[in-house]
């Protein structure tokens, strides 16, 4: 037992809030699962409402806790899932490269994402199921062009093989972190989707209260 600085998965500097959106069945939950558990869930049930996952990553030497909200793609949950865009620092917008319809719906998802999030929210387009090359229905170039036109980051990934999954989540975080350094994200609020951890008083202190915790409690 020691109060050394490294206390494993409980130590971090920021919390970033993400939301994963996209049509039903495109593999949102599988991407999240692959990212948090490094496993592929072959028969994953439809998400009911929203689900939640976390993982701590490192960006430029900073430990960052990702708090990820995986939304249901089914239309009937749209009214519910819309409320989770609020305060997201990153939005992963997913389509299925083997189903054109999921790609065609992107603009509607994008409209939601733009209107319901902070202007600085990083939106990352993911073409999932990249492992099913034979069934491809949307070309890389076409999606890339869509992403460029709309100022989105873009990658093709596979929740099954894990290819590019890590990258998508990490690059989103990097971009958000960049925004923080640029000063375009205000850190002093819970609602930006980015929360600096509480200035931690070491396992000490009566008098050594951190000066900036002027809390009312």
């Amino acid at each position: 037992m020691s109060n050394s600085t490294n206390s494993g998965p409980y130590n971090y500097t920021y919390i970033f809030k993400y939301i994963i959106i996209g049509d039903m069945g495109v593999g949102k939950s599988c991407l999240l699962h692959q990212f948090t558990e490094k496993k592929f869930m072959a028969d994953c049930p439809h998400t009911i409402g929203v689900e939640f996952g976390t993982r701590i990553i490192e960006v430029s030497g900073q430990k960052i806790k990702l708090q990820i909200w995986d939304t249901a793609g089914q239309e009937r949950f749209r009214a519910v899932t819309r409320s989770y865009y609020r305060g997201a620092a990153g939005a992963l917008m997913v389509y299925d490269i083997t189903r054109r319809s999921t790609y065609n719906h992107l603009s509607s998802w994008l409209t939601d994402a733009r209107s319901l999030t902070h202007p600085n929210t990083v939106i990352y387009l993911i073409g999932n199921k990249g492992d099913l090359e034979a069934q491809r229905d949307v070309s890389y170039e076409e999606a890339k062009q869509f992403a460029d036109e709309n100022g989105l980051l873009f990658l093709e990934a596979s929740a099954k093989t894990g290819q590019n999954v890590e990258e998508a989540f990490l690059e989103t975080a990097k971009k958000i972190y960049q925004n923080i350094l640029d000063g375009s994200l205000d850190l002093n609020a819970a609602e930006t989707g980015v929360q600096p951890k509480q200035p931690m008083p070491k396992p000490v202190s009566n008098e050594a209260k951190p000066s900036d915790s002027q809390c009312s409690c």
Binding site: M1, S2, N3, S7, Y10, N11, Y12, I15, I48, G49, V50, F52, T54, Q67, W69, E75, R76, F77, R78, A79, V80, R82, S83, Y84, R86, G87, T117, H118, P119, D186, N188, A189, A190, E191, T192, Q195, K197, Q198, M200, P201, K202, P203, V204, S205, N206, E207, A208, K209, P210, S213, C215, S216, C217
Partner: protein, 644 residues
């Protein structure tokens, strides 16, 4: 050479000579080899020394010379020997004294040996004693190590000036606890006094340490009031350690929950009224004009806060064993933390509910139910948040049913006769649309299938009966046909709407039965209409009630003569050629082609049944028609074929 043969003679000579001493002597002399006799040579040599010249005198004196010489020699020898003897005597006396000496030593050795034995046994004894003492020392050291704190350890238990605790705090505290525990073993030995004393001392140490830990933890908890918290390993260990003092543990947990509850309330109010920095994201209340969005945002916020707090609690409890007890600890703590938002939440929901009606109320109730279900998975079910959600759901659902009832009573308030189209009125259609809306929102709804089923039944019970009642009431003054058409139209509208949705089967069955009842009326009317238009009605009625035994053959009955029948039958023939020309006019107002088809089929059967009755009567010889074939040229089968 000559001697050779004489050898035996010599031998014999020798043998004879042996007996002669002189010869023996001679032989001896002859045989003796002087040069070989060393003694003799030696003697001769010696003799030559003092016998210089072989003179008489000297030969005469030889003996005395030799004797003299011998005497001298003996005297010399004597002298030398005396010397030797004297020396030997000396040696003997020395040896004598040596022996005496060694005797002496031997006795002394014996004595010493005796004394040493004693010493050795003494030494052994001492050595054993030393071993014992060493062991005792070791034991004492170990004992001290096991049953006492080192001075630095005592320091670790004392807080620093700034109130902080030493990193080794828990290790030492654990040691104190172990010592205290081990004292119980001591008490079972004959070390009871020591045991008691140490126990008391450790108890004091322990209480002081727990007290300090408690104070420290209390302070830490009070600092945990920002949006997110990070729980250090030290803190989680501290909480775990406090489980040894259940009361302190409970207080600290309360303290933690309190801090977080306050933080959550503040955050909630901020999210509602202030939003993010420089207003982005916008405050949730900005959307209060859109009740569904507003409620959705509020509940989603609560859900997310619950999830975050759940994570924080997990990290607070991470040093605990993962089991059911821990799970319930987390759930109940989460309940306490989320307590704080209940009042604000309740007020807002109620505010929204009072100004809404029908479908919106319904959607809100669904939304609340969904979040009840979602949040319930993480939190203690008996907590206030869940209670609030349940109550708010019940309230919204009750208000929804109320608003449905209002509709229903409004339906019954304004009873007016239907217009000439015999279609359901405006209010009826509006109510139907409302149900459709509600059911549609169900299709988009987030609640479970079971709820859906129950709700459907309840909603239908609440509305369908009053609707049907209204229809009956508004139709009281209509003719039987008009009434049946109108009722069928109304019921059919309901039926066709409901048939789009699941879980309406039993209701649909009931409605179908009602439609069928009205349809029967219409079929009879239609059949009567055809029979009367073809002038067969009278004949049909007479035949139906005719009793041959009483009144004789039919042919004699008034109005049943061949001619009358023939003319009627020809009209019937015309009908058969174009059956669709003879339809009750109101039937065209019937909604639903399936209903019209059913009506047609049923009435055709009635008509053909009637025809068969007439046909059978006329072709019955007892009835006295001579030319029955010309009256009824078609068999009933042919008629039925033509009609269908």
């Amino acid at each position: 050479m000559e001697k050779e043969p004489s050898t035996p003679e010599i031998q014999t000579q020798q043998n004879t000579n042996l007996n002669n001493p002189i010869s023996r002597k001679l032989n001896k002399i002859l045989e003796s080899r002087i040069e070989n006799d060393k003694e003799l040579l030696e003697s001769l040599k010696t003799l030559s020394m003092f016998f210089p010249e072989n003179s008489i005198r000297s030969r005469r004196n030889l003996r005395s010379d030799i004797e003299k010489r011998s005497l001298v020699l003996n005297e010399e020898f004597l002298g030398a020997f005396r010397n030797v003897k004297e020396q030997l005597d000396d040696i003997s006396s020395i040896i004598g004294s040596m022996s005496e000496c060694s005797d002496n030593m031997l006795t002394r050795l014996k004595q010493v040996k005796l004394q040493t034995n004693e010493l050795i046994s003494k030494t052994n004894k001492l050595q054993n004693e030393k071993k014992d003492i060493d062991n005792k020392l070791k034991i004492a050291d170990k004992f001290i190590e096991k049953f006492q704190l080192q001075s630095d350890e005592v320091n670790f238990l004392t807080p620093k000036k700034d109130g902080s605790l030493h990193p080794e705090f828990f290790k030492v505290l654990e040691k104190v606890r172990t010592i205290h525990e081990n004292c119980k073993i001591l008490l079972r030995t004959n070390q009871q006094t020591a045991g008691l004393e140490i126990m008391e001392q450790m108890a004091i140490n322990q209480e002081a340490a727990y007290e300090r830990l408690y104070r420290w933890m209390q302070n830490e908890c009070r600092l945990l009031c920002s949006d997110t918290v990070e729980i250090s390993d030290f803190m989680s260990t501290a909480l775990f350690t406090l489980t040894w003092r259940p009361i302190l543990y409970k207080y600290i947990l309360d303290e933690y929950c309190n801090s977080r509850r306050n933080a959550i309330v503040k955050l909630f109010i901020d999210a509602l009224t202030k939003g993010g920095p420089s207003g982005n994201p916008r405050p949730i209340e900005l959307n209060s004009h859109d009740p569904i969005r507003y409620m959705g945002d509020i509940l989603a916020w609560i859900h997310q806060a619950t999830a975050s707090e759940h994570e924080f609690l997990r990290s607070l409890f991470r040093k605990f064993k993962n089991n059911l007890e821990l799970e319930s600890s987390i759930k109940s703590s989460l309940g306490v933390i989320m307590d704080g938002v209940c009042r604000a939440l309740r007020v807002r929901i109620e505010q929204v509910l009072v100004s809404q009606q029908d479908t919106i109320l319904y959607k809100i109730s669904n939304l609340i139910k969904f979040y009840d279900f979602t949040i319930r998975q993480r939190i203690d079910e008996s907590c206030e948040l869940i209670q609030t959600l349940v109550e708010m759901y019940q309230l919204s659902y009750k208000m929804f049913l109320n608003s449905l009832n209002i509709h229903a009573t409004r339906l019954l308030d304004k009873i007016e006769p239907p217009n000439f189209e015999l279609l359901p009125n405006e209010e009826f259609r509006r109510t139907l649309t409302l149900i459709k809306d509600i059911f549609d929102s169900y299709n988009n709804s987030v609640v479970s299938v079971n709820t859906k089923k129950d709700d459907y039944v309840q909603i239908l019970d609440c509305v369908i009966e009053p609707m049907l009642q209204m229809c009956s009431l508004s139709a009281v003054n209509l003719s039987a046909i008009d009434m049946a058409v109108y009722m069928i139209n109304c019921i059919y509208s309901i039926h066709s709407m409901l048939s789009l949705y699941e879980y309406t089967d039993s209701k649909l069955e009931k409605l179908e039965a009602q439609i069928d009842a009205h349809l029967d009326t219409l079929c009879n009317e239609q059949a009567y209409f055809i029979l009367s238009k073809t002038d067969l009605l009278d004949a049909f009625k007479i035949i139906q009630s005719h009793d041959k035994k009483v009144r004789g053959p039919l042919v004699n009955v008034l109005g049943m003569d061949s001619n009358t029948l023939k003319s009627a039958m020809s009209k019937f023939d015309i009908y058969l050629a174009a059956p669709d020309n003879l339809i009750v006019s109101q039937f065209n107002l019937l909604l639903g082609s399936s209903i019209r088809l059913k009506l047609k089929q049923k009435s055709v059967r009635l008509v053909s049944d009637a025809y068969k009755l007439i046909y059978d009567a006329i072709t019955d010889p007892e009835n006295g028609y001579s030319n029955s074939n010309s009256i009824v040229p078609r068999t009933p089968d042919q008629t039925l074929k033509l009609l269908s």
